[in-house]
């Protein structure tokens, strides 16, 4: 297992290099000018100086290699410095966002908590409701519960979040006034009152995203349970006199979780990607919103870095899914 993991990590390096190059190349080919927002009164020679200041006078490949160096060498050094108070980085140039004039990683660290709280919580809630629903739906296939569950998950899966989000705002924020419609990032949880306000502003975005996640995962769980419920070993377990909870929650569930855990693990990187649309609807200034504004502003270092981080996470969680698969299913061997 260890050698498998190491081998996979090693093969991830060329994969990620290719991905980073493709992202960089695509952004290079994309139309748009980072200085387009500047007033037309700025004279051309000043404009040219600004381009030089941003490093845009350098050829494509030099900027790419510089970015690689900053991402893989200088930024980790800064992280170590800030963690241990060392000074390895020695004031080297960091990746700087063109729109914020601040290091990209500082901005990401500011945005990460909102995304983790809202999108991460929604994923967790989604998984926690999806698993029991999937199990019961499969065990009582075609029952009243299953019909309702299947219907709701079809709705949740097919109605886009920008619709359910706005609908919830209209009902619960505008008409009922139970929850705020805008997520307030400046809110600090210090006491019970502020905690309640934090929960209140999280309820709607979490509910919208959790419904979407739960619909997907509960369908997987249901299908996987159904696959296993008719297996011969289930009959064997019953013939041994095991009770139904043991048969279903030990024998069937353990087998059914194998594909579902993979799906759940592969879904984790999407949390970091933030929920671009839902974050917009509820004005959560998380990573998804950051990416969108960076694209609008032609903030290439930000887009490049964020996109590449997503790619790293996807590669990483693919590996984690494979490892989990091997841990859950004894028939899979990696050496």
């Amino acid at each position: 297992m260890l050698t498998f993991t190491l081998r996979r990590l090693l093969t991830a390096i060329p994969t990620l290099l290719v991905i980073s190059f493709v992202i960089f190349g695509l952004l290079e080919l994309a139309p748009g000018d980072p200085l387009a927002d500047q007033p037309l009164t700025v004279p051309p020679e000043v404009r040219e100086k600004m381009r030089v200041a941003l490093g845009l006078d350098q050829p494509f490949y030099i900027r790419y290699v510089l970015w690689l160096k900053q991402f893989f060498w200088i930024e980790p050094l800064y992280t170590i410095d800030s963690l241990f108070g060392t000074s390895f980085a020695e004031g080297e140039q960091r990746i700087v966002s063109w729109q914020f004039r601040a290091p990209v990683f500082d901005v990401i660290w500011q945005r990460l908590p909102q995304t983790m709280w809202v999108v991460g919580m929604a994923y967790l809630v989604g998984v926690l409701i999806a698993l029991p629903i999937g199990i019961v739906s499969a065990y009582r296939q075609y029952s009243w519960f299953d019909q309702v569950g299947t219907f709701v998950s079809m709705i949740g899966f097919s109605v886009p979040t920008f619709f359910t989000g706005v609908l919830m705002i209209v009902i619960f924020a505008v008409n009922l006034g139970w929850f705020p419609s805008i997520y307030d990032t400046t809110l600090r949880v210090t006491d019970w009152e502020s905690f309640k306000r934090q929960v209140a502003q999280m309820v709607m975005p979490v509910a919208v995203l959790a419904l979407f996640n739960a619909s997907q995962i509960s369908r997987f769980m249901r299908a996987s349970m159904l696959d296993n419920l008719n297996q011969d070993y289930v009959r064997t377990a019953r013939a041994k006199g095991m009770t139904e909870p043991v048969v279903v929650l030990t024998h069937v569930l353990r087998n059914s979780m194998i594909p579902v855990v993979t799906v759940i693990a592969l879904g984790v990187p999407t949390i970091f990607g933030g929920a671009i649309i839902t974050e917009q609807v509820f004005k959560v200034n998380g990573l998804g919103q950051l990416l969108i504004t960076a694209i609008y502003a032609n903030d290439l270092p930000m887009v490049q870095t964020l996109t590449f981080i997503f790619a790293v996470l996807i590669v990483l969680f693919n590996l984690i899914a494979d490892i989990l698969y091997g841990l859950l299913d004894p028939r899979i061997r990696y050496d």
Partner: protein, 335 residues
């Protein structure tokens, strides 16, 4: 005929129906039989004759819906298993009545160790601690002839060969010293040499442990080798029932005779074609009013189409047949 006092298992008028989209399928029609202590009852018949369904009905192992055990009485240790509580049924399954299924490749749970699957019934029915169950599990594996039993308890089913897995299944079925072992085509999925080994094992275990066995099979050769008494099933009914010697020496039912003719002979000239029984076994959408074998029977006459023959005792003790034709006189029976 059945004698409640001396039989461990006494089944009367068992009827099982499957509810399907195209109507009800009567899979078991008024089957009655009994099992004496320590006896090996062979059950034969072609696919779809209701052998397995009969045995699964006894212990409520059929999925319901679609299956429904509609009528009958299954007396075991003074209780009717069709009318008792689910809890009592579970305390019988795996403890007092053991089950071995056809396909050892799929009958064991792939994600649990063989030790875990063996310990389960021991801990549930005999109240053993985990370590005591582990010890007993090793003894059981040893009993069914798996070498290095203690170490192999930690192995998963896929690390065993087919024959070894069937030995494990037998060990699980025998874990709690059952009074009755029901073996549903336990050697059908195995090749001939492994089949011979399993037969030898069962013969041996029967002598050591003294339980009664119901052995379901297609293979009359196997029956001749191990059974004390034989029950031939057709169309969800008992066609003929007799002590094994009597059945082979003096078959009374045209179906039994036809089955015996299909066995290829090892001596003499090789036959041009294998003997077959022409036609297909019936799918019964109603409770049969006529003899279900009539359509394929060379002896059928008008009464066979009007009336379903009851089980008629014949000359030898313990031999009965559900047929109106008497081969001894070459004329219809006078009943």
């Amino acid at each position: 005929m059945p004698d409640g006092a001396t039989s461990v298992l006494d089944v009367r008028d068992l009827k099982t129906v499957f509810r399907t989209r195209s109507g009800e399928v009567h899979a078991v029609n008024s089957v009655s039989f009994h099992l004496r202590p320590g006896e090996l009852l062979g059950v034969v018949g072609e696919s779809g004759s209701g052998k397995s369904v009969t045995m699964m009905s006894l212990l409520g192992l059929l999925p319901s819906p679609p299956a429904e055990v509609r009528e009958g009485q299954v007396m075991f240790e003074g209780k009717n298993l069709l009318r008792c509580t689910e809890d009592h049924l579970r305390s019988v399954r795996g403890a007092r009545i053991g089950f071995v299924f056809q396909d050892p490749m799929t009958s064991l749970n792939p994600v649990f160790t063989v030790g875990f699957q063996l310990r389960e019934p021991l801990m549930k029915h005999m109240g053993l601690s985990k370590s005591a169950a582990q010890k007993r599990a090793a003894e059981l594996l040893d009993l069914v002839g798996i070498p290095d039993a203690r170490r192999r308890l930690g192995d998963f089913p896929h690390q065993f060969s087919g024959g070894m897995r069937q030995r494990v299944m037998i060990a699980i079925a025998l874990a709690c010293d059952p009074k009755v072992l029901i073996a549903d085509e336990p050697t059908t999925a195995l090749d001939v040499t492994i089949q011979a080994q399993i037969l030898e094992l069962v013969r041996d275990l029967r002598q050591k442990l003294g339980m009664a066995i119901v052995w379901i099979t297609h293979d009359l050769g196997v029956i001749a080798g191990i059974a004390d008494r034989v029950m031939v099933m057709y169309g969800g009914q008992v066609a003929e029932q007799a002590p094994v010697k009597d059945l082979f020496a003096n078959p009374q039912h045209p179906y039994t005779r036809a089955l015996l003719r299909t066995i290829p002979h090892v001596t003499g000239a090789r036959a041009e074609k294998l003997n077959v029984i022409e036609g297909q076994p019936p799918i019964l959408y109603r409770h049969p009013e006529a003899c279900p074998f009539a359509a394929r029977c060379p002896q059928a006459f008008d009464r066979c189409l009007r009336q379903n023959p009851p089980r008629i005792p014949v000359a030898a003790a313990g031999h009965d047949v559900a047929c109106f034709w008497d081969f001894a006189t070459g004329a219809p029976r006078d009943v």
